[in-house]
Amino acid sequence: MRALNEDAVVVDVEYGFAVVADGMGGHNAGEIASRIAVDTLRERLPIKIQQFRAGARQPRPHQFAEQLIGEANRAIYSTAAGHANCKGMGTTIALWLMHGEHAALLHIGDSRIYRLRNGQLQQLTRDDSLLRDQVESGLISANEAATSHNRHFVTRALGLELQTAVHIHEEALRAGDLYLLCSDGLTDMVEDSDIELILDQLKTNLELAAQHLIQLANDYGGADNISVALVRVLDTAQEKSGLLGRLLSWLKR
């Protein structure tokens, strides 16, 4: 019933980063796209982080992370161009990368990054979604959005064009912060107030918290892949040991 879906989630405690990707495209092409994105970051980020930790001043973490996301984009794009089954595949991505007392947040599409601080959940990323645009421009109300069929139209994704623009955001970390990276499969089904409650109540057992989130999305009839990564900042002063990451992902198909 539950499967670890490492194609779509990475949490690297040693190097201090977490990634969630949610692929799109038929005939398993979406899974190929998300796996290329995740593999690129899993393999290449540690090298860049090592160089940065060794004292290299340039590039900055958000710069090399953006560059690697660009590489993943080109890799997906060229794979899609070379395989008829993969035509039009793409993936959303959310990346959380810790450096010193800060974290770089990068995302494309509608995978999200949230932060729980002092019991308050806050969404830190802005979805590249047509529905979000329409709610913001007042075309439809937020209540109507809940029942909209068009909730999954993303306006940007990785792998569709040779160039892609990444949203980048820097965060100052505080001890005790809990970061949630998730695919739309979670936030479609579970209300933010329930996510906040579960994270706040179960933050001392991240694996159980992740299980609860996925289980609740499932109980509400989740039909999409649900990928979740949780990262808790223990102590920002000690970069290497100050990070606890657990990942769990649930795949339904």
Partner: protein, 230 residues
Amino acid sequence: MAKLVLSLNGTVINQFFTDKPNLCIGQAADNDIVINDPLVGEHCAHIVGIGEDHILESLEGDYGILVNGKACFRQILQHRDIIHLGAYHLRYLNSRVSSELNMDRTMLIEALPLEAQAGKAITSLPSARPNKMYFPEGYVQIQKGRGHHLPGENVALDRVVTTFGTPGEQLVVLTRRPQKIYLTHVEGPQMPRVNQKSIGREPVALQDGDLIEAASHRLEFHLGRPPTKR
């Protein structure tokens, strides 16, 4: 189930699913499919679903509506038909006819302005969770405990999770799920006990009347709403 893909000059703008018996098309904002083109009437047409089929009916004008370039007043739509609406095209795709039709709802919309609006508050889209999902009700009667609950008090389990104990030391969680309410150990050296038997790390489904000993609490679990206080 069918879908209608709206495009302008070959660029997909939106898609609509025919899960309402009647889809209205026109320039006015109260239509299901709003076409922002001065050549399109306020409420120019509607699509009526009958079984697996869909009928397009013109509602305004003396010339009908163009389908695949031909004027008509009422027509059963065929897979891949194109309805012309001013400069816009609305393509009808029926999933019954076409198994390759992608009903995956996560898809990309291209050719839209993609500028990030820095500084604006982030709009959180509401979830689509159905309200009718039945989660059982339950409560626990505190027989012994510390913290903010007093012995004798009934605590309703009205949220998806309710914890007892002290985070960082000893903690258990009661979780509402569609059929039952479960008890799970969260952390701490002592495993919780149900009816004097120690439970493992796996969640345990609770029965009415179960006695829970966990995290310095003794709790009696009951299904239903807590009795009202006198």
